[in-house]
Subunit: 341 residues, 4 copies
């Protein structure tokens, strides 16, 4: 019963097969190969527009390099108070870009236009904190919730009116696409997103992430930024190959839909039980039940793996926990977890 994280799972057969398929022969390094070219073309098709893609090995690399591309001296980056980039990357953005992160209130992980406006008002143009440079949204969010295209658009409009760039942390973007039924384009550039981190790892790759730029060539120094940060994989074909396998026959959305469905089943089971309530109404592959400490102990004893998670309004005898599903989660695991409640 692994619900600790989606990155505790391995890789899908399609991904493994693609890596093996492209192993043979002698191929240019650093992205000069045909697999990289072909997969970049796949990105264009999936996003229904010309995109530039820079492959990296980790999500933190994708996020911080995106921020580095946008960086200006003394710049401010507005993010959700729950953002991974803010809470879980050991200050990578501050260190690599020198910019300040401004956390915006985001109950259930979703920023509202009102909250963003209030935050922007606190940092007026010409102020001595420096210029507002970027807005970064996470979709699916860190709380398992999801922005609809119109919600992304509303936030992006506010940011762009202030001259800020709009970035999307899509570590679980496939889950957002699967949950909303919106197209990748509708959730990104059509809604005002200018660049994104697109994660493959959590949803079935070995280790493959991509920075997707919706204005190809906009950041001519991004290549050097990657090199300088040690984020250029030499045998680049193997990262590209993972994405080839990932996208094959829409597999990336199928695995995400499966993970979402498992999470929905968990949510339903939790709602039905009397032993727990949900901290947030999630739609992607993370569920956050608030459980009695005894229940938590019982679940763990039975072999369920999960982590505690900070949440508001938690009583002394209970805790909020994060329960994550993945492409590898089985209905049986879910049933056993629910049965234990």
């Amino acid at each position: 019963m692994n619900f600790a994280s989606d990155n505790w799972a391995g890789a899908t057969p399609a991904v493994m097969a693609a890596v093996a398929r492209h192993n043979g022969g002698s191929v240019p390094a650093y992205g000069g190969d045909e697999v990289t070219a072909a997969v970049t073309q796949r990105f264009c098709e999936i996003f229904e527009t010309e995109v530039e893609v820079q492959f990296v090995a980790t999500g933190t690399a994708a996020n911080t390099l995106s921020m580095a591309a946008l960086a200006r001296p003394g710049g401010l980056v507005f993010c959700s108070a729950e953002a991974h980039l803010h809470n879980d990357e050991y200050g990578a953005t501050e260190f690599l870009t020198g910019m300040k992160l401004v956390p915006v209130a985001a109950p259930a992980g979703l920023m509202t236009p009102t909250a963003l406006e209030a935050a922007l008002a606190r940092y007026p143009e010409g102020g001595r904190t420096g210029p507002a440079v970027a807005l970064t949204l996470t979709n699916a969010s860190e709380c398992g919730t999801v922005y609809e295209p119109a919600e992304v658009r509303a936030l992006a409009d506010l940011a762009r009116a202030r001259g800020m760039a709009v970035h999307l942390d899509g570590a679980r973007f496939a889950n957002a696409v699967a949950a909303t039924g919106a197209t990748p384009a509708a959730l990104t550039w059509q809604a005002g997103v200018e660049l994104m981190s697109l994660g493959g790892t959590k949803n079935g790759c070995l280790g493959a992430e991509a920075i997707v730029l919706f204005q190809p060539g906009r950041f001519p120094e991004l290549g050097v930024l990657r090199q300088r940060a040690g984020h250029v994989v030499s045998k680049a074909r193997f990262v590209a190959a993972q994405f080839e396998g990932y996208f094959e026959d829409g597999g990336w959305l199928a695995t995400a839909a499966h993970a979402n469905a498992m999470a929905a089943r968990l949510s339903e089971g939790i709602r039905r039980s009397n032993a727990a309530r949900l901290a947030w109404e999630s739609r992607a592959n993370e569920v956050f039940p608030v459980l009695g400490k005894e229940t938590i102990a019982r679940l763990r004893e039975a072999g369920a793996k999960f982590y505690e998670w900070p949440a508001d309004g938690i009583g002394p005898e209970e805790d909020c926990v994060r329960v994550v599903t993945s492409f590898a989660t089985t209905a049986d695991e879910v049933e056993r977890f629910v049965a234990l409640l």
Copy 2:
């Protein structure tokens, strides 16, 4: 006829098999898994001492994080004038550590104690360039040459007498071990090396590098440094698994020995031909012939891949080129190359 780079090759069957073997099941992320633990133990056996290992995806990551672990404000890092870290990493060390690299004369890629002493004398203790913090050596060197254990020791002694740490860039360490016949221990900690970047990628991995610390626990903040730089792979088992396959049955030394042998055959062929001379007498898997421009054109036309390389004493009608062999190089390729001269 790929002689462009050893990272144009794919992965060895043993590496691929190990990755596939460890794909199943649910496994803790970020290095908390059993593969990582077991492979770390293999490193201890190979180096005949207790070591700490931090796995990363790129050689630049291994080098810059090693430097970051050692960094002091205003610090100086002494390296060969040919060092990859100095010439090919886009200023990564300067950017990530704020330190200054001091290139030391290194004909044929090998620093001499005399040259190092002269460089150290130029930066006396208490000077206004800041403290001398580290010496970094590359073995096998960027010129295909190799330090013997006693040569490493002589340089390390000078550095340590000055209170500096000693780092080894071992992107092609296997080739140095194979070329010298010395043990990994003799070439590293027994000769005064305190930490190293050990490369797997060029010699048969998909993308696997390791920082090896010969004093476990010496840099307690290295973990945070890795996270902050985006260099912690989440599905860490797959990097560890590559090293498992890499070390299996001494495979890493067999592939390196093969590459070295192919290079030696190239050197011999070049020496015998009248069409070229060798810029340096290399012992590892890189050969640097100086060729007439016509010969270069003819080789390229015949499908040989290689890059030009800066070297001294090159006439107007010739160029130095770098010819790299790998585990995948065949005797047939070598023969065809030599025949074309």
Copy 3:
């Protein structure tokens, strides 16, 4: 009627005289002179303990170098949400140290132990935001309010229990000493402060700030950090001389007391008038009246200089403004301002 800032004033006669007095002759540079030595001794007397002093030219330099001395990778610095360091230094701390500032709720500029505890709880030890490294307090605060020694102690105790260092931004420290009647020692090291930025500029110097370390020698690399940041003044005697003049005959407390008294008179006048209310009950040399927009216009027309200031609970027809007094403010200016209300 200058109420725009205390740094719109010039220097006091005592400061100017000291600079002129030490102009003659040939004197070692970079702090190796006798004035620097003698003035450092004065700091020891004033703080009633052995201190190390590093002189710099700006308050931002004092703050960021203090933070740089304390910096650890991925570190967190807890500060008031109103802190100058957070709001008015263009991200200097993030840029120079790579650390993240965590703003703590501080109504009227003063953090409470409850608010600090809540903030610390949000960033538990071992978390993925990195380690809690420092607490920085501003006294007198940015809102004209003042911490009493016991209040400093209560916050410092919380910080030290978590292993954090405690820094004081004393850009207006003289005003805090004058307002509380506490000794410099009682407000700093006796209350748990480990290092501070002590400002001279706003209270009568030309440009003189000091980093005061209550554990001499604790940060052996601070000297290099200063040099590397370009914050070592070569003719250092002139910065030290300013402090000599500043401290002479307790002048620094007399000028601060005067400024505080002028501010108190302004507060009283504002309270008595019907045209305004005070945003916060200040005790130092800054007063924050909330005024009708018409009143503001009338004051400006009459030649009063001041800036608007963000505050909560401001109606549509009014604004909060910051009214700053200094050693040079005259009772006459104050009376004219009050009369205009």
Copy 4:
């Protein structure tokens, strides 16, 4: 007999008078004052063109902020191997900009076009060290030698042909103007210099340096860079005032000419004596005699202050020393020094 450094001297009467003159009254901070505006106008007159001026307190600040304005990721800065920026600023440029300094051979402190061309050739465009971003020259050089306008032009042409910006470190610019008899314009923008650090401190100010930009507005973020580095002096009028006094009646060139003349007299005395030879033929206010160790001891015993200096070709019984003159050096001091040889 102070020959240790020109920054061991105090300030000239004209500088002190200007500071005192502008002390009165209430004046906008951070450079919004009339003195700053008027002195900026003086810079325009002196350089015979429209310039933008940013005042700072130290030479390292002027140099590193100039570099920061020019910085690009992975960038290379070409400087003389003797450059202060390279040897005496504790890695400030590397730290604040992340760029790499490339030292160019410069016998007697002066780079030749041949040496610069050779250095540029080692770092070809598109290479993996990153882009060539800037050339920085020091005039007068660190060896007391001086570039003529045509020499500056020849080097600047090479740099600009490669798309690099040209910076001048003018810590002792007045001495270069006095020594060459060229106009400030001829030595800077007319010869291809795009921005410079102009020093006032060593030649008679208390602490006043300026970044002079020959294309006003070219670096719109320089203001934020200054703030973020803590290099904006709040009572800016006092830095501007120093330059007012400095330039008054051509005083800056008179003091420099005096220092140069004293140095010439020293050189002549040294040449005439049998006890010493000159390491370089200097024309500005620094002289570098090579003296027997006994002579050095005798000079020191007699009260002469000076430092040893690295130079090539020094025998075992001798040392090279740096003898610096300033506006405050007297002919009597010089005579006593020479007599002691």
